[in-house]
């Protein structure tokens, strides 16, 4: 809906507002990016300056796994942490998809007693503050022997990824007209064939978006990994703590590790941003 010729002043003000908002949100990331190329001295210098001679030694330290400090050479397990993040996030999302997609379908298509209550309960796990459950969990894990295991962590990560997948994929199925599935069954196919050949292919954008979001949330998780895993299973979120050393906080390496941690999820999100928007708007597949 366009009113008269758009006021050029209004347009300029609008652009300015967008710029300010953009700066506000992107500034921390920009600063961290800068820091990752600076030495600790440059970082701590007052006043902070945009001009400095960039160095790659932070990245080098992380990747090679050796950090030279005034107190000696430290082992830096960052690459191991990165691998853990990948393993944990991927496995968690895979498990969540395996259970979540059929469950979402059941919630969307079938009406059964307590259905709504069960769905809400599962969704409510998302709202529960992890801090509340993590200590009891730690004790249980001790008893079960699941402490510091991939299995244990993937299981706990379901608290993060499963509700998300259920929520988004269920909405996607609900938006899909059931008539298409009915037509396929009337044609002569079993309900399982219908689920595999019609329901899932048509829900692909929603499933992809949900999986992507779940991956990002799992990747970013801190608390569960901190309490329930020890050094060799820790993901990057926890691994960054290693840079708070006896000889001082290694800001440069923290910044570099942040940059490296962001890259996988950023790349994934950029690649699939179209699906994200579509999936988040809970799709509209018209029959």
């Amino acid at each position: 809906m366009s009113m008269r010729k758009t006021n050029p002043i209004a347009r300029a003000l609008r652009a300015l507002a967008l710029l300010l908002v953009g700066l506000f949100f992107l500034f921390p990331i920009f600063w961290v990016l800068l820091m990752s190329f600076q030495t600790n001295q440059d970082i701590l210098r007052i006043p902070p300056s945009l001009f400095f001679s960039p160095t790659l030694e932070n990245f080098y330290a992380i990747i090679s796994g050796k950090l030279v400090t005034s107190a000696g050479t430290l082992e830096v397990p960052f690459m191991g942490n990165l691998l853990n993040s990948v393993i944990l996030s991927t496995a968690s999302v895979a498990v969540s998809l395996l259970f979540g997609v059929p469950a979402a379908y059941a919630f969307a298509r079938f009406r059964f007693r307590l259905g709504e209550d069960i769905a809400f309960t599962l969704l409510s796990f998302r709202f529960a503050p992890p801090l509340l459950v993590v200590l009891p969990l730690a004790l249980y894990f001790q008893d079960l022997g699941l402490n510091n295991s991939y299995l244990g962590l993937v299981w706990v990560y379901q608290l993060i990824s499963l509700p998300l997948i259920l929520w988004i994929v269920r909405g996607y199925f609900e938006d899909m007209s059931p008539d298409i599935e009915h037509a396929f069954r009337i044609d002569g196919h079993s309900w399982f064939a219908t689920f595999m050949k019609v329901s899932i292919p048509l829900a692909r954008p929603g499933i992809a978006a949900a999986a992507l979001l779940a991956f990002i949330f799992c990747w970013n998780n801190f608390i569960f990994a901190l309490i329930l895993a020890s050094a060799d299973k820790q993901p990057v979120t926890v691994g960054a703590l290693a840079f708070v050393t006896a000889s001082g906080i290694q800001y440069g390496q923290i910044a570099a590790s942040i940059v490296l941690s962001i890259i996988p999820t950023l790349a994934l999100a950029l690649y699939a941003q179209r699906y994200l928007v579509e999936g988040l708007s809970l799709g509209a597949v018209k029959g």
């Binding site: 007209s177 008539d179 298409i180 009915h182 037509a183 396929f184 069954r185 009337i186 044609d187 002569g188 196919h189 079993s190 309900w191 019609v198 292919p201 048509l202 597949v285 018209k286 029959g287």
Partner: protein
């Protein structure tokens, strides 16, 4: 080919009773149209026959055997949906071929049958397109082709012409009877449009509030509607209805309406001293010139042409509304402003209904 029998089907969703002891029988080769106002009843009926929903009580028999709890894939049913329900990720060819693939027919036979039916429905040139690339008319024909290709015993058509533009709808209305006759299935067709029902049906089942109010050929439905609601559903403009109370006068039943007394034809004595509704179809109103003897003066307030007829919006002496239709060639004489004209009610065309129950008060057998 199969017979289809619905035997006292009831279905409710939560507190709403959607279908109530509905019974319909469709013979092979027959088309029964279920017609009624918008509401879930008609579509639910089709879904019950298709097997995607199960009834609460009652039985459904196809070719003599009960199909309760038999999955849709084993019922020998074809269905065309109101919103087409085509598979968006497959081509038109694959959409139509789907029932044949489910049967495990071999590729050569599948191609032959799909080509045959698409030629019949004039969509052979778009078989390679996906649904997104088809026009609404082509989507509708693809949906029809898919439902017909297997030559099912029972064919279910859920308001297939609803989402198609007016011109195409009219063309299909002309073409469908011919098409359906070729296949010999028992056809259950659902629509809200009474004209479609009258055009396509061997018999019409009028469904209202979950009950079948009348199941009869079109002529019985139109000329002898069993209830006020059936009378209102069939006819455009809708039948005129007035509350009246016939009295006995001089050995006959008379009705006082529009400030006049009208004699009812013989055999309506059952209506005397009962609260009734009088029904008069717009095309049955007789329009006279000035001072037409025996008629009533009405005020003509507006003329709205309706295809090949014209609708006169009239107001009676006490403000009663009356719609009458005249042939198109007669519209010109009425002009644009209000004017007085005379109307007459032909006694034999009056319909009488009991006001309480809505049921028709039939003329007593002579």
């Amino acid at each position: 080919m199969s017979d289809l029998i619905l035997d006292r089907i009831s279905k409710s969703y939560g507190k709403t009773q959607v279908l109530s002891e509905a019974s319909i029988e469709v013979k092979a080769g027959e088309t029964v149209v279920v017609c009624g106002p918008s509401g879930a009843g008609k579509t639910v009926l089709l879904r019950l026959v298709a097997g995607v929903v199960e009834p609460d009580t009652g039985d459904i028999r196809i070719a003599g055997r009960s199909v309760l709890n038999v999955g849709p894939e084993r019922r020998d049913v074809g269905m065309a949906f109101q919103n087409f329900a085509l598979y968006p990720h497959l081509t038109a060819f694959e959409n139509i071929a789907s029932p044949l693939r489910a049967r495990g027919l071999e590729a050569g036979e599948i191609k032959k049958r799909v080509d045959e039916i698409s030629k019949l429905l004039r969509i052979e040139h778009v078989l390679g397109h996906t649904p997104r690339e088809l026009s609404n008319g082509q989507k509708q024909r693809t949906s029809l082709a898919r439902s017909l290709v297997r030559g099912p015993g029972v064919l279910l058509l859920d308001d297939p012409l609803r989402n198609v533009d007016a011109k195409l709808r009219y063309e299909m209305r002309l073409e469908l009877p011919r098409l359906l006759r070729n296949f010999g299935s028992a056809v259950l067709y659902v629509t809200q449009d009474y004209k479609e029902a009258m055009a396509l049906a061997d018999r019409i089942a009028v469904l209202r509030a979950g009950r079948i109010e009348q199941l009869a050929p079109a002529s019985a439905i139109y000329d002898a509607p069993e209830s006020i609601e059936v009378a209102r559903l069939f006819g455009d403009p809708t039948i005129n209805l007035y509350p009246i109370r016939p009295e006995a006068e001089g050995g006959a039943a008379v009705v006082r309406l529009f400030g006049q007394t009208w004699r009812l034809p013989r055999g309506r004595e059952a209506a005397i001293d009962r609260d009734c509704m009088l029904g008069l179809r717009p095309e049955d109103v007789r329009i006279g010139g000035d001072g037409h003897p025996g008629g009533v003066a009405f005020e003509l307030e507006a003329v709205t042409p309706l295809n090949v007829r014209g609708v006169l919006y009239l107001r009676g002496p006490a403000g009663e509304e009356l719609l009458a239709t005249v042939p198109e060639r007669d519209i010109g004489q009425f002009g644009r402003g209000h004017r007085r004209i005379w109307i007459d009610l032909p006694a034999e065309k009056l319909h009488l209904f009991d006001r309480q129950s809505g049921a028709r008060i039939a003329p007593a057998a002579a």
